[in-house]
Assembly symmetry: C2
């Protein structure tokens, strides 16, 4: 039992070191050597956990998923209010939210270059849009969003939100938290047929 | 004179090799060694042009700017129609447009990790928003976009467009050219106070 506990504690340490490297240097800075340095261990020890760079990247993406799930709550309620909360949860409104967004945006370089990671990111986008869709459909039924193909509205709202994330990561002073939520609110109001 | 011409031709060859590496492997795959391999030359020769990895990345970003300027025309006309054209010019509607977008999105990893590149990308976003602003103001005057702070509308439209770019890069089958332009048109129509 102690051996197992030690092993698990060590795994957690390694994962925490991977996350710190990611948050600081992005996927471009994620190397076995950087993780070893962060951990104060040898590259050999890190290789024990990640036999390849690809294995390290895949673990980093799993970590990003775990951190995102911990931050973004299950949707509560329905319709426009739930949609607003779901989109706001993705914005970089807290230090953790900023860190997670920074990691995801940085992952796109690796994901565009590698077929396996490309497929994972494509599937992640599909899941996100599928989760937003019932909220959009309810908001349409309530007359809070315009009629039309809900998939198009979902894609547009996901686009708006991620596009704001990128601009805010590069210019946090021009996009303080208050402005980000105000932009989201104003956008949803402008789309409303009663707008 | 022949020496100068040779030198310039060689520079063009090197730049073309940098661009091919970028379009294929992104910034994560951009190394002096990869450029040398693409060029069929030694790493030593490439080092002659780029003394450091940073110098190579900065040249790559300049190339991306040049390619973008060649593709995205000067805005013609005014108001909503000019705005629609300006935003459509950013979407991945051609092989060249897809390649350029793929390079820019991939550059965000490096740009988020490096203060010099971060400042360049922040300035690039500012310039883009400044170019869009007069078109948005005219469209507001014409009653084609809702009243309110034009800077907010510009940020939202830039967000919508780049967010679509990212989704389309990861799932081109779900976002064919026709759907991308239809999404943009529908979005501008939904924002219209007469919508």
């Amino acid at each position: 039992m102690p051996a197992k506990t030690d092993h698990e504690a060590r795994r957690r340490d390694v994962s925490a070191a991977v996350w710190r490297v990611l948050a600081e240097a992005g996927f471009g800075g994620l190397t076995l050597r950087a993780v070893a340095a962060e951990l104060g261990a040898t590259t050999g020890l890190v290789t024990h956990y990640f036999p390849s760079k690809q294995a390290l990247i895949v673990h980093a993406l799993e970590l990003a998923e775990t951190h995102t799930r911990a931050l973004v709550p299950e949707y509560e309620g329905r319709g426009l209010e739930a949609l607003r909360s779901a989109l706001a949860a993705v914005l970089p409104l807290t230090p953790e939210g900023t860190e997670i967004n920074r990691v995801w945006v940085s992952s796109w370089d690796a994901a565009l270059a590698d077929p396996e990671l490309h497929a994972l990111e494509k599937a992640r986008y599909k899941r996100w849009r599928a989760r937003l869709k019932p909220l959009v459909v309810d908001a349409q039924d309530d007359g809070d969003l315009p009629a039309g193909d809900p998939d198009d509205l979902v894609a547009g709202l996901a686009a708006f939100t991620h596009g704001l994330v990128v601009q805010a990561l590069f210019d946090p002073r021009a996009f303080p938290h208050k402005r980000l939520t105000a932009l989201l609110d104003a956008h949803l109001t402008a789309l409303s047929p009663q707008g």
